[in-house]
């Protein structure tokens, strides 16, 4: 995974996995480098996961990185750091959403997905897309975000969410179908 934001010169060429290994050996600069790389990406992911609730996303960002620190030994050698980090963020988001009873579980069948890339130049369209995302059931939104926004494969998403890749495809299909119905000409 390439650096996301403001990594120091010292650590910018080092992979996430090497930094994580260094942190496991007590190097907190490696941890900070990981934070610099991924905090914004994780925050963006969390904002989408919690339907634009910025305050909750801030709290979940902290919970996510606290989990990285507390569970550093749970990161297995040979694993990729970014999917592992997203797994933690997704777990934190789901746990908190469940707690406030927002979670809805829906499954469906497979199909090709439409594009849902936001039209950055059109604020009204962007608002509509965000509103449509907010209406998506949690289980579908997390798959759509992981697939379309984070660019992960269904196999990676399945690992993150602890489901089969078929279930991930099904949820994504349902999500894309929903967005297509909501957004019409935008997708």
């Amino acid at each position: 995974m390439s650096p996301r934001v403001g990594a120091s010169e010292e650590t910018s060429a080092v992979s996430d996995e090497v930094l994580m290994e260094q942190f496991r050996h007590g190097d907190t600069r490696a941890l900070e480098a990981l934070y610099n790389r991924h905090a914004k990406g994780v925050h963006g992911f969390l904002v989408r996961m919690v339907r634009g609730d910025g305050a909750l996303a801030d709290d979940l960002l902290q919970q996510t990185f606290l989990s990285v620190v507390r569970s550093a030994d749970r990161f297995e050698r040979g694993a990729k750091f970014w999917p592992w980090l997203l797994t933690i963020a997704a777990n934190a988001a789901r746990g908190n959403l469940r707690r406030v009873k927002l979670g809805v579980e829906v499954l469906g069948e497979d199909a090709p997905e439409p594009s849902v890339t936001p039209a950055h130049s059109d604020p009204a369209a962007r608002k509509r897309i965000e509103a449509a995302f907010a209406k998506l059931p949690d289980s579908q939104r997390e798959v759509v975000v992981l697939h379309k926004v984070e660019g992960l494969s269904f196999e990676e998403i399945a690992k993150i969410l602890g489901i089969t890749s078929t279930a991930a495809r099904i949820r994504a299909h349902r999500g894309y179908e929903f967005l297509k119905a909501e957004l019409g000409e935008l997708v």
Binding site: F23, D58, V68, V69, S71, A72
Partner: protein
Amino acid sequence: MSAFDTARLAMLAEAQKPRVGWVRRAVMLILASLGTALVVGVVASLLGKPLELRITVVPLVISGAWLAFAATRPGRGWMRWVGAAAAIAVSIALVATRHDGSGAPHSHSELSCTALHVLAAVPAVVAALWLLRSMAPSWVRALCAGLAAGVTGAVLGEMLCAGDAMHVMLFHLTAWTGLTALVVLVSSRLSRSSWAP
């Protein structure tokens, strides 16, 4: 101060604290479970209660240790299913090996066996919940941790109880199942110290 700075500071402060790894948590659960069974067994022996050395104690101890590691270890989902299957197989063996009704008549209420099973498992249940708090919710992990906690009473039952197959089924396996269900239920409502898988 922005949310990013706050999270960074909290993370760096947390990094200064000593951490308890998953291996140590698994060992703590094993000690709380099998260690308690050993201590209670020794105390009962010192108090004059004859200990029975049934062969079923061996697979019970192995299953308990396996379940504790399976509940805690990152990845390796198959370990949890093997552990759960082993617990079922051992439970069947516990009943099957009592078919002859080998035991002497009970000198105490049969419910006292259930009470001992549950009371002896308290430290292990606490350890199991502490362990489960340190990772993302997973009912399969909770199942394994609950079964590992319940092994305490099952081992004690094999060492101290002379009841027949029906007694084992009604007053020991029910307690084991109940403890497991309790751990699964409570763990799903625990606040998490970590959301790592």
